[in-house]
Structure formats: C-alpha cells, structure tokens
C-alpha cells in the first residue's frame, strides 16, 4: 500500500496505481481527454496534468505511478492554465461547428471545454479542411473533427487486429486515416464500428439514417415495420440517460410504437429460427461428415473479415443468413403473403447494436428475387435514441407494450444472441435435445459466458463428445480462424463475434461502452433469459407454427431458398 496526499487529502491506495486511478478511487476528479478504460495509456492529450511536490514541470496523472509520500495538487492556477491552453489549441485545429455535429452535447471535447470555462480562444483557427469519407454504408470519417487522440487506432489495431486506421504523416499535418489516406471502403475495414464507439468527438460516426426512416414512417405508400435486436433492450437505457444495463422490453416497444411504426417485432424470433436452421446444419454436417467446425454467420463484421482476409474459411461458415436478414426475408415473403401486402410496399427497419449491419443490409446476396433488399435500412441503438429525443419521448412515463405477433414471441435462448457465447449456448440447448432425444437438465453453459477472449465447452451429443469454442473481438477470432485453416482446430462448432463482449458491445451501442459496462449489459441478458417462459428455441410455439404453415422443416428446400446465403472472396477490399 502507498500513502500519499492529493489536494491536502491523505489517502492510501494499492501499489502500482496511477495518480489518476488513485484520485478517482477517492472521488477526486481529474479531467482527461485521450484516456479510455481498457485501452492503452497514450498520454497524448496532457489534459490530466497535475503538480507533484519536488517534481519539475507538470506530470500526467494517467501515466505517473503513485509513490510513497507524494504530495499532489490537481487544480492549481498553473494546472488550470495548462489545461485551458491545451484545450484552446485543440479547438484551434478542430471543426467546432458543434450544433451541426452528431456529438453535440455528448462530445467529450465540448464537455471539457465547458467544464474548463473556455470562453474565448486566443489562438487562430488553423484547420485545413479535408474531404469527408462518406463512401460506405456504415461509417463516416470526418478528419476535420478528429483530435488525434489515438483511441480508434488502439481499438482497431489491438482489440480488433485490423490495422485499418493508422497515423499518417507527421506533426501538424498528421491525420488518422487508412493506408494511402484512402477511404475506409478501399481498405479491409469490417465496419465493426468500434472506432466510432470510442471516438471522443464526431470524427468517426455511424452513417445517420434517421431522416430516411422518418420519411418512410410518414409515407402512406409504405407498410413500415421494425425489428429490434436482442442487445438493444439492455443498452437503450444508457442512450437515454437511464441506468447502465437497464432491461427495457415493454417500454422499448412502446416508445418505438410511438415513433409510428406499423409493427414492432423482435429479432429474437429469427434468432430462434437461426438456431433451428443452424442447429440442423450442424447436426447434418456431423452426421454426414461435412465440413467442420461449423462457424456461426450472425455477425457481419466477422463475415467481412472472412471474405476479405480468409477465403479458405468460407466453407466452414454456416450458410444461414443472420437473424436480421432472416427477419427481412420473412417480412417480405411469409408476412406479405399472409397480410396480402405487396412486398415492394413493405419497408423493413432494423434497430441494431451494430454498424456492420448497415453494410450487411446492402449486400447483393441478401435480396428477395435479387432486387428487393431483405432489410431496407438499419439504425443503431444510438440512432434510435436520437429518434426518441427528436420525438421527446419520456421513457419513464410511458406504458409497457408487448411485441406484435407473429414475430413477437421468442425464447431465452434467442436473447442470449446479444452476449458473447450466447449463440453457442442457444444452439447447444437445442442440438443437445434433438440429438440426445432427452431434455437438457442444466440449461446454462457457464463456461461459454463472460469476457474471457476465447472460451470453450465440451458436450456429449449422442455418442460423440463435441467441443465448441467462442471468441469475441476480431483479434481473438484470428486465433481460432488460423487454427481452422491450419487444420488443427479441435472444435465442431465455433461462434465468432466481432465486437468485444458480443453484440452488447457493438459499434452502434451507446458511447462509453467499457468492459465494466459490457459486464452489466451481459448480466442483464442472462437475467432476461432466466425470466423467460420458453428458454429453448425449438420450444418457441411461433417457430413451430412457422415451420408447419410455411417452411415445412428446418433446412427444407424452401427454408434453404429463403433463409440461407453464400459468401465469396472479396480480394481484400470491401
């Protein structure tokens, strides 16, 4: 333990802590800008400087370890002047058109400037305007707003192992950009959006599709329906200023209804359907000696990685469309037929925790009759929050409403899709019962839960002891992928999610998604599962009915035609 004094308060903290950590632990706030939990300490912004008695100059609290007897001040006039000056400098090379920025009132730089009381900027604005990269359906990179804090690079490089973004150039001319300063779409970006999630300002943001949705909602020619992904119900609360990990089912449905959608459906329904299709695919591959391991296909970030960098892996990936796309397909076929609506008049909106889903929805392979997209437009959790704010919806005061039929009934297995390991757990619940022909006693596969990067489990299916593995974050995925390619993978089934924590940690989730936050959202996912009437996908009565009325049986010709797809190599570029 180390004894030290901060602002005349004596404190005792653990060895090896930084001054910043020690201060925060004792509720002494030191402002920061580049600092982000779970990422490298870059110590680039120098905002968190403090004075330490006996030390020359100012020291950054984020990088300086505590030592016995330190006497630290965090708020002297000298420190305040330094913080203000640095903030003015940053603002002098920043497109500070705040009111037209998506991060207005939610921007870490703006917040810092406000708290420091920056009223005038002594320095000339020296911003040299650069082209905005608006060339892909998922993300927008606006270098004019970038403050070069390096968070996006860290997350892209270290967490995702992608190395798409780098520092290009030197000194005042440097910018954070893909190789050759090109567009994200020219590089092997997976559009996972983790960069957008950690960006403190509006330099990398999701492509905002809210206006399109508003237009469609008020266009009488369209029947506008919406699906809500499992992970959104445990994160939307944060987006509108409520508790982290808050579970909102009924209120979420109610609020979305108020936006004007004709039907509000649950992607959980097609998650159950995915388990039926993918589970059957797994059983068939095991029984017929097909290509194993079977790898999940729900995550579009991972599919992008596979198509761009690992063409050899494609035969391993399940041919199932993702739950989002299965929903779109059913909406424009089954639902359209049932309700007698021309599929062209149906407009399918998705609320996803994900930016890569925006890209997935535009894929040529995922269209009805090669022209009508399964899903028309994708909004992130953050965009849904924006629509709520535009509408002035008071979440606290609205009633709870159920999802609409027929795509409203789902199971605990389906909601697990929101967390890493969830697809695996849901699949095992179903595959076990089908293959062993007896009920599963303990539904909960704890070994595939949690934030460990690569997890595995072993389960007896019939006569076979089958091993399964789960990874989240693309850097971890690469480990499993490379084993599969090398032929050394011992697994029959592998779940891969691009984002840390799975979809609850998606790139389209509320800002401030740290590992602590991920854990809370994950806990809520398991709470939802535990409270469900049905907890296994094959028990879902609506799914049974769907097969009976329409799809015949899992992996039937019709199911194949509607619910499955193909992947192809994309020569390294999206």
């Amino acid at each position: 333990m180390v004894n030290l004094r901060i602002n005349n308060i004596d404190i005792t903290v653990k060895d090896n802590m930084t001054i910043l950590e020690a201060a925060r632990q004792h509720n002494i706030n030191i402002p920061t800008l580049c600092h982000y939990p779970d990422l490298h300490i870059n110590s680039d912004c120098r905002i968190c400087v403090v004075e330490i008695e006996g030390y020359k100059g100012l020291k950054t609290s984020c990088s300086t370890p505590v030592s016995e007897g330190m006497n630290i001040s965090t708020n002297t006039p000298k420190i305040l002047n330094a913080r203000k000056t640095i903030t003015e400098l940053i603002l002098s090379n920043h497109d500070a058109t705040c009111t037209s920025c998506v991060r207005n009132m939610r921007c870490e730089l703006q917040e810092l400037a406000k708290n420091l009381g920056i009223d005038i900027n002594r320095f000339e604005n020296v911003l040299v305007k650069k082209e905005i990269d608006n060339h892909n359906p998922a993300l927008i990179r606006n270098a004019n707003r970038c403050i070069k804090c390096g968070r996006c690079i860290d997350v892209c490089k270290e967490v995702q192992g992608m190395h798409v973004l780098e520092i290009i150039g030197r000194g005042h001319e440097m910018e954070i950009a893909p190789a050759f300063g090109k567009y994200l779409s020219d590089e092997s970006c997976t559009f996972c959006g983790q960069c957008a999630n950690v960006c403190p300002v509006g330099a990398i943001i999701e492509k905002d599709n809210t206006n399109t949705v508003w237009e469609k909602l008020y266009d009488p020619n369209y029947h506008v329906m919406v699906q809500v992904a499992p992970a959104v119900r445990v994160s939307i609360g944060e987006e509108i200023g409520l508790k982290t990990g808050l579970i909102s089912n009924g209120k979420l449905v109610s609020a979305i209804k108020r936006l004007g959608f004709n039907n509000v459906y649950d992607t959980d329904f097609t998650a159950d359907l995915t388990i039926m299709e993918e589970g059957t695919e797994l059983i068939n591959r095991i029984k017929t000696g097909g290509v194993l391991p079977l790898m999940t296909s729900c995550c579009p970030g991972w599919i992008n990685l596979a198509e761009q960098e690992y063409p050899e892996i494609l035969p391993h990936i399940s041919s199932c469309k993702s739950p989002q796309q299965m929903f779109g397909t059913l909406a424009k076929t089954y639902f359209a037929e049932k309700e007698n609506i021309d599929p062209k008049d149906i407009y399918v909106v998705s609320i996803m925790p994900c930016t890569a889903k925006k890209y997935e929805a535009t894929r040529k392979e995922l269209r009805i009759d090669n022209e009508n997209p399964d899903v028309d437009i994708v909004l992130t959790t953050r965009e849904l929050g924006k629509m709520f704010r535009q509408m002035g919806i008071d979440f606290d005061k609205i009633d709870e409403v159920e999802f609409d039929d027929p795509f409203g009934i789902s199971t605990g297995a389906a909601v697990l899709f929101g967390a890493t390991g969830g697809v695996t757990e849901a699949a095992l619940r179903t595959v076990y019962e089908i293959l062993n022909n007896k009920p599963l006693e303990d539904l909960e596969f704890k070994s595939v839960r949690g934030m460990q990067g690569i997890k595995e489990a072993s389960v007896k299916l019939g006569d076979l002891e089958v091993r399964v593995a789960v990874s989240h974050s693309l850097a971890n995925a690469r480990v499993l992928i490379e084993d599969v390619i090398a032929g050394t993978s011992p697994y029959a089934f592998i779940e891969i999610m691009a984002c840390p924590g799975g979809c609850i940690g998606g790139g389209g989730q509320p800002y401030g998604t740290t590992n602590d936050v991920r854990l809370k959202r994950i806990a809520s996912i398991y709470e939802v599962d535990g409270n469900m009437v049905y907890r296994k996908s094959h028990d879902n009565p609506s799914i049974k009915k769907l097969y009976k009325d329409y799809l015949i049986e899992p992996n039937s010709t019709k199911a194949h035609h509607l619910l499955h797809t193909k992947y192809s190599m994309r020569s390294g570029k999206a």
Partner: protein, 423 residues
C-alpha cells in the same frame, strides 16, 4: 587553453578506414584491460569519474549503467548518433575521424553491464559517417574485436547500424528505440524507462556517441584522475561545436569549467569583421539565447539551471549585431514546427500557434496581447509536452523573454507605430 585533447587526439592522424592505424595508436588496449577487470570494478571507475551524459540531458552515466547492469536477460546497448540539433557536429566528426574509439567505448560499456548487442543509430543525412562506421564494424568483426568470444574471452557481442531517415525527434531515446524497431519515431510513455524496457522490449542502455568515447579515456587514466579534469559540477572534456559569426568555426575539445567567452574569443578568434556579439545560442535550436553579458558563465551543465536550460550537446552559436533576434527565433520555431512528431497535443498544436505569434513580431504587427499569449503558450508547451523535444523547444523564447524583454517591448511599440502611421 586546451590542456587535454583526448577524444580528438587521433583526428587527422589516423586513417579512419584503417583499424590497424587505430591499433598502432594504442587503440583497443583499454578494452583489453577491461576484459580482465571485474565488471563492478569498471562501473566503479566510471562512478568515480563523475562523468555525465554528453547528449544534452547531462544525467550521471554511472547511475544509468549500474541500474542497467542489474537487469537480466538479453540486453541491448544503443549508441545515439542521431545528431540533429542545429549547430552540432561533434558526433559526425567522432564517427568520420575516429570510428574505432566509439566501438571501443561501446564494447567497454557492454562488457561491464552484460549486454549482448548494440545498435548504432545514425541519422540518414550522415551518409559519409554511415559508410565509415560500417567499414569500422566490418574490420572489428574481422579482427575479433566483435563477434563470438572476443579476443579469446567469454564475451561475445554484436553491433549493427540502423539509419534514421530525417526525423530530429529520433534523438529522443524512446523515439529512437521506436525507429530502430522500424516504426515512426514517436516516443513512448515513461515509466518504464529504456534501461528496463527498451529495444524490442528488452533492457536497453542508450548513450550518446561522445559519452561512449569517454569510457576508454576514463579506464585508461582511472576514474579519480578523470574526475580532476573540469570543475566541481562536471568532469572531463566537452566537445564544443562553435559556429555562427566567429572567425574560427570548428570543433573544440575543452575541459569543463572554461567560460563561454574564452571559447568564443580564444578558440574562435572573436567575431567576424570586428562586429559586436548581440546574442549567443547555447546547445542548438533547443537552447537558451543569452546576451553578451552572460558569456563569462562556465561550460557545464549545473550552472545553466539558472535559466532552466542546459548546455545541451555543446553547440555555441554566435550571432553578431546585424541579426534580428526575432528572425532567429522564427528559424528555431520553424524547425520545431517541422520536427514535432505530432503525438502529444500541446506540441503538435502548439508550435503552429507559436509560429503565428512569432511571425507577428517579425512583421512588426505584435501587440501586448500577443506577447502574453506567447509567454503563456511557451510555458505550457515547456511544462506539458510528452518528450524532450517539446519540453525544450520553447527555450529560445523563454530565455529571450528573460534576457531580452525590452526587445519584445520595443517591437510591440514599433508595431503600434507602424500601424498608426502606415496602417
């Protein structure tokens, strides 16, 4: 006044391309002696010598070496030959004129600390020095002064040259390490320090070329004897790169304790055309600009602390009365604006603003507010920048605001006059 010319004694007397010449001159004898010494005895001699680093920061060499010696596993030595500070050329001379002296110094430091490999990082602009050092290393391998079981001992050691490619900041130790690893030269956060986690994350001892050159000297005459050269603040000799408006520009080896005036007047022969000295910049672009009245100060690292600066790597740039102080500062600031790596925000965003403000003084359009902004900005960059580049880049402004404040005030008055009469 040059009592001992040690580091430069072989200059122009030996062929730098010939190891035989160096050996005939008693070269590698000290290293052979060291091979028979106990490692801690060598370190003790170095401690007794009181030698400080010659690259500019002036840190006691023995403290660094002792803490490095304690580290275990594969360890690197790095010779910092990224001499980029304007006004300095001592390392170039040391490399071009007596390359084996450097290798001998590196060998001594490696043997005494248990290091296995050295990178000599030479700036890419020094093509000639790179060629000579490469040749010297080749010869040293051939004669078993490098390689396996050097000269029949148990000590094996390798040296490899890595080139810079035009980045002043790579003189900073962590930026240099990054550059050796083939990356952009952007510094790392300290701690840990290079002696703990350096090149390829292994413990690394980094010293300046001149520092290594002093080690054979120390062991030859003994640490105690060495410590008698110089004064109470600094021991040994210092290579001074004397430039600017002096008659005899050049490299001089001077014992610590001499005054700057002696160097300029006795060695440099005074100022050209009998003009007066108006300013002297010490150390290079990152150094203080002082008035003529302070020239009686000693050349050592300690006393310079009075203006928060150091003698740096030993440049003395003399400026006569025909030059405008603001033009000189502008040149310095243009240099740093070009060389800032961009990693930390005050340095990246600050220099362009400093440049804007200094330009106002150069163009006679500055006011009191500009002065205050400049003063505050210079102080903030100095105090908050991540590495030595930003921390020292403002020295010419901070020192002139101290010693030439009236020039700033005068310029502000003239600016006002210019505005009133010429609009």
């Amino acid at each position: 006044m040059i009592e001992r010319i040690e580091l430069t004694k072989r200059f122009d007397k030996i062929d730098p391309l010939s190891i035989k010449n160096y050996l005939d001159f008693g070269g590698y004898e000290v290293f052979k002696k060291a091979l028979k010494m106990k490692q801690e005895d060598i370190l003790n001699e170095i401690a007794l010598s009181r030698i400080t680093g010659r690259g500019g920061a002036g840190f006691p060499v023995s403290i660094k070496m002792k803490s490095f010696a304690k580290e275990s596993g594969f360890k690197y030595v790095v010779c910092n030959a990224d001499e980029g500070e304007p006004g300095n050329f001592k390392d170039r001379y040391l490399m071009e004129k007596d390359p084996h002296q450097i290798i001998e110094g590196i060998l001594i430091s490696a043997f005494s600390t248990g290091a296995s490999k050295c990178f000599i990082y030479i700036r890419g602009e020094y093509a000639k020095a790179i060629g000579i050092m490469k040749n010297a290393i080749k010869q040293a391998y051939k004669t078993n002064h490098l390689g396996m079981n050097i000269l029949g001992s148990n000590f094996s050691f390798e040296i490899e040259i890595r080139r810079g490619a035009g980045a002043y900041v790579c003189g900073e130790e962590f930026a240099l390490i990054e550059s050796i690893e083939g990356k952009p030269g952007r510094t790392r956060v300290k701690p840990p320090f290079p002696t703990q986690v350096g090149v390829f994350d292994k413990p690394t001892l980094i010293n300046n070329v001149e520092t290594f050159c002093n080690l054979p000297f120390i062991l030859r005459i003994g640490g105690t004897e060495y410590s008698k050269i110089g004064n109470e603040y600094a021991s040994g000799t210092k290579l001074i790169s004397l430039t600017g408006n002096v008659k005899n520009k050049g490299l001089y080896e001077v014992p610590y304790g001499r005054t700057i005036r002696e160097v300029i007047e006795v060695l440099g022969g005074g100022v050209n055309d009998n003009k007066k000295i108006s300013m002297v910049q010490l150390g290079g672009a990152c150094g203080a600009i002082i008035p003529e009245s302070l020239l009686d100060m000693d050349i050592d690292n300690e006393k310079f602390n009075i203006f928060d600066s150091k003698m740096g790597a030993g440049a003395i740039i003399v400026m006569d009365e025909s030059f405008d102080m603001f033009d000189i500062i502008l040149k310095n600031m243009e240099f740093f604006q070009h060389e800032t790596c961009g990693k930390c925000m005050p340095c990246r965003e600050g220099h362009i603003q400093v440049l804007n403000l200094i330009k106002k003084f150069v163009r006679y359009s500055a006011n009191e507010k500009d002065y205050l902004s400049l003063e505050s900005l210079a102080q903030v960059i100095h105090e908050t920048a991540l590495c030595g580049l930003g921390q020292t880049s403002m020295t010419s402004i901070i020192s002139t605001m101290k010693f030439f404040k009236e020039d700033y005030q005068q310029r502000i008055k003239e600016s006002l006059f210019k505005e009133e009469y010429y609009g």
